[in-house]
């Protein structure tokens, strides 16, 4: 099904897709953008080559699968045949070995050796032995075996036929093949026998007497020469095909075509060997022991654990396929070349008259009307060329008429058909009437221009006067501007001075506020001292009180002393001493009184003076307040001075600004006056030019009159 898909559906789909694409390209006019030659080549290539390519692709696939199937079949057949042969051969060896083991002479010899322990010193046994030797030697030669040996039940080789006397007596009871061979017939793998000095396989089979007792073994030694002959037959395997054997250790058992001396040395670890070791036969593509890609089949061989491999190089197997592909490529290339040739040729045939037509049309487009297309065709392009030539002829007639008109001859007319020709004739008529009108107009222009000239000259003189007066105004404006600058400068210096005064006034203001502060301070201190003086007065009052008490006490003391004196006097002589004391006390009291009086006087003086000081302090407080008032008044007047200064500054600034504005305005006026002056000058200049131009115009009108007169109407 998949094969069908590949062979039919996909090629058809590709062809369809290409044709649809081509159709679409033609339909949407993409292909027409190319030149005609390329266009034709693309279409023809697509139409011819795409189907051919698809067909050959499909054919290639079919052939390839058929070839592969054939090779596989062949390899399977060869492998199977050879493995069958090998199996038969091994079967025959097995049968021979078993036959030798059931031969009466072998049984007899082994029985006597094993049970009766005879040896060749016994004449009877020796005779039997020699007979056995003769028998087996004959059988060996007849069957083509390498050797036949008898082994006792203890595992000692007792008899050989090939004359390897050294082997006799060799104990093989420990060998694996002997142990296996005690039970049933056993094939050893291929190994190197040092006595025979070549690669051999042993077939060992047990020997039993009539009572089915084990009495020894028979060993048949076989070389591989005949098998190798069979394997090296290369019939049906081509140049690189071969068959070989591999044992279960994956070592090569037979010779290979590509590897000399490979037996038991070359290791073959390939896909085929691994599959064969699983006991199956089959065929596949894989890399062989040389790592070449091959197609190989594998077949297990009975009794031994060998497998037979039949392989052929993939390269050789698929050779016909490559040849076929090469043929196809050559054919397709040739076809493509031919298609391109045909396309180019046919495109050129179509394109040549068109190119000629294009060349002539380009000439005509450049204004050269002296050429015609000379190619003769009978298709649509031919008709087009004829029409084109007629058109060119018509144009040539019109060109001649135009030349006549250009010479100033308006008397002729063209006798061709068509809108262009009639338009030409109408144009001639119009030109005639136009020329006549021109002649009349020129006369009028001449008179008008001479009038213009005279008026322009008048204007020119007026402009010169205007220019002079403008220059005067400009000079005046500039003077005004410079004086305004002076005023501005003066006003600026006034503003500067006013600013300085403001600073000074502010400093004065600060001093005033400081003085007020200090005055307040003085006031506070004075009040404080007044308070202190008052308290002093109070205290002196208290002193006075205390003095009163002292005085009273002194009075009392005096009284007491008086009374004491009186008592003393009354006491007569006895009271004299006491009288002295009393008089002293009295004196003391008196002095105390006097002192108190004195202190009282002092205190009252203090009181008087404190009262005076209180009064004077109050007076000074009042004075300080007055001083504060005065200072504040000074502050206010400084403030008003500051205000005045500020106003002065503002006013001077405004003056500066105004004068600056005035200055800029004056400058603008001056600039404008200068521009006006320029304009006036330019006007005068241009008036002169205009006058000249008008004069020229006058002359031109005369010239024109002369020219127009040349036309024949």
């Amino acid at each position: 099904m998949s094969d069908m898909y590949w062979r039919l559906v996909i090629p058809l789909a590709i062809i369809l897709a290409f044709n649809v694409a081509l159709f679409v390209l033609i339909k949407v006019k993409i292909i027409q953008r190319l030149k005609l030659t390329k266009n034709l080549i693309i279409v023809l290539l697509v139409v011819t080559l795409v189907p051919i390519l698809c067909t050959s692709f499909a054919a290639q696939r079919t052939i390839s699968s058929a070839t592969y199937a054939g090779i596989c079949e062949k390899l399977m057949a060869v492998g199977k045949t050879r493995s069958l042969f090998l199996n038969e051969k091994l079967e025959a060896v097995k049968v021979d070995a078993e036959t030798f083991a059931t031969n009466w002479i072998a049984i007899e010899v082994l029985r006597r050796i094993s049970f009766e322990k005879k040896d060749r010193s016994d004449p009877d046994f020796n005779a039997l032995f020699e007979r056995a030797e003769g028998h087996f030697n004959r059988s060996r030669v007849a069957k083509g075996y390498d050797d036949i040996m008898l082994v006792s039940a203890e595992g000692k080789i007792m008899l050989t036929c090939s004359g390897h006397k050294k082997e006799i007596g060799l104990d093989i009871s420990e060998e694996t093949y002997f142990k296996t061979g005690m039970g049933k017939t056993h094939f050893t793998d291929l190994f190197y026998n040092k006595f025979a000095e070549k690669n051999l396989i042993y077939v060992i089979t047990p020997c039993r007497d009539l009572q089915e007792k084990f009495i020894g073994c028979v060993i048949v030694e076989m070389d591989m020469d005949r098998i190798y002959d069979m394997l090296s037959d290369r019939e049906g395997l081509g140049e690189s095909g071969e068959t070989y054997l591999v044992n279960k250790e994956k070592l090569m058992v037979s010779e290979s075509r590509f590897a000399r001396d490979a037996i038991l040395k070359t290791r073959v670890d390939t896909f085929g060997v691994n599959e064969g070791l699983l006991g199956r036969s089959g065929v596949a593509v894989y890399n062989d022991y040389r790592n070449f890609p091959v197609i190989g089949s594998w077949h297990p061989v009975q009794y031994t654990n060998w497998m037979l491999l039949a392989e052929i190089d993939q390269k050789e197997a698929f050779m016909p396929l490559r040849v076929n592909r090469l043929n196809q490529i050559i054919l397709i290339s040739a076809t493509a070349v031919m298609v391109i040739f045909i396309a180019v040729f046919s495109a050129l045939a179509t394109v040549k008259p068109v190119r000629e037509l294009i060349a002539v049309a380009r000439h005509i487009g450049e204004g050269k009307l002296d050429q015609e297309v000379k190619i003769q065709c009978h298709d649509e392009i031919g008709v087009l060329i004829n029409m084109f030539n007629g058109m060119v002829r018509n144009m040539r007639l019109l060109a001649e008429q135009a030349a006549v008109i250009s010479r100033g001859d308006l008397t002729t007319s063209v006798d061709a058909r068509g809108d262009l020709a009639s338009a030409f004739n109408v144009m001639g008529d119009s030109l005639r009437s136009l020329i006549r009108q021109c002649q009349e107009s020129i006369v009028r222009i001449a008179s008008a221009s001479s009038q213009m000239m005279s008026s322009f000259e008048e204007q020119s003189s007026g402009a010169t006067e205007l220019s002079a007066s403008v220059s005067e105004i400009t000079a005046t404006m500039e003077e005004l501007s410079s004086s305004a600058k002076q005023v501005a400068m003066n006003a600026e210096s006034v503003a500067k001075i006013a600013e300085d005064s403001e600073v000074t006034g502010q400093q004065g203001m600060e001093s005033v506020s400081e003085s007020v502060h200090i005055m307040e301070e003085i006031k506070k201190v004075t009040k404080n001292s007044a308070d202190k003086i008052l308290s002093l007065s109070e205290k002196s009052q208290k002193i006075g009180d205390v003095l009163g008490i002292i005085k009273e006490i002194a009075g009392e003391t005096h009284l007491l002393a008086l009374n004491a004196s009186i008592e003393a006097s009354a006491a007569g002589e006895f009271g004299k001493r006491f009288g002295v004391v009393a008089s002293e006390v009295r004196r003391l009291a008196e002095r105390t009184k006097a002192s108190a009086e004195e202190i009282k006087n002092v205190v009252s003086e203090i009181q008087v003076s404190t009262n005076e000081s209180v009064l004077s302090t109050e007076q000074s407080v009042k004075n300080v307040e007055k001083g504060v008032d005065v200072v504040q008044k000074v502050g206010r007047s400084i403030e008003s001075i500051l205000n005045l200064i500020e106003r002065t500054t503002d006013a001077s600034r405004q003056i500066v600004m105004a004068t600056q504005q005035q200055q800029s305005a004056t400058a603008q006026v001056a600039g404008t006056m200068r521009e006006i002056s320029d304009v006036v000058k330019q006007t005068a200049l241009s008036l002169k030019q205009t006058t000249a131009t008008v004069a020229e115009l006058n002359k031109m009108a005369d010239d024109f009159k002369e020219v127009v007169r040349q036309f024949k109407t």
Binding site: H558, L562, I566, A570
Partner: protein, 162 residues
């Protein structure tokens, strides 16, 4: 005037020793004049205290005063000496004089001192003193405070009582 001096000297022993004998006088002040009263005739000096006037008595009797629980009659000396009436001041004192009829309070403006005066220093009072007063001045003496007239206090008091 000599009899007057001898009147005083009656009580005083004669002789040189008698000249050196010292007499003690309490000097009191009335207005601006100083008068002396013999100390041995004075009981004590007291401060005026609630002098209760007694209606219907002569003008020189100021009134009665309680002194240490005894009723004392106080006499205005200024009235007696025709020096106007006594005005109580802070220095005013009452001299309690021992008389035959008991103690009598004498009101004075101030007690100055007790003066010790020797006998030889006692002088006959000047005749310039008013005759009315002259009979009550026994003698006069110079003190440190000025001239002091020594009063014959009993005579003065008795005269009034007569």
């Amino acid at each position: 005037m000599g009899d007057k001096r001898s009147h005083i000297i009656q009580d005083i022993p004669e002789g040189k020793e008698a000249d050196a004998e010292i007499f003690q006088f309490i000097g009191i002040r009335l207005e601006k004049e100083i008068y002396g009263i013999e100390v041995n005739k004075v009981k004590e000096v007291a401060k005026p205290f609630q002098i209760t006037p007694i209606p219907g008595t002569p003008s020189h009797i100021m009134g009665l005063m309680n002194l240490h629980g005894e009723i004392l009659c106080v006499v205005d000396l200024k009235v007696l000496l025709a020096m106007g009436t006594a005005g109580s001041t802070e220095n005013s004192k009452i001299i309690v004089v021992k008389t035959a009829e008991g103690p009598v309070g004498v009101f004075c403006d101030e007690v100055i001192d007790i003066f010790d005066i020797m006998k030889k220093d006692l002088e006959i009072p000047l005749s310039t003193l008013s005759s009315a007063m002259g009979e009550y001045i026994k003698a006069q003496a110079q003190t440190r405070c000025g001239l002091m007239g020594i009063l014959d206090i009993e005579k003065l008091l008795y005269k009034q009582e007569k």
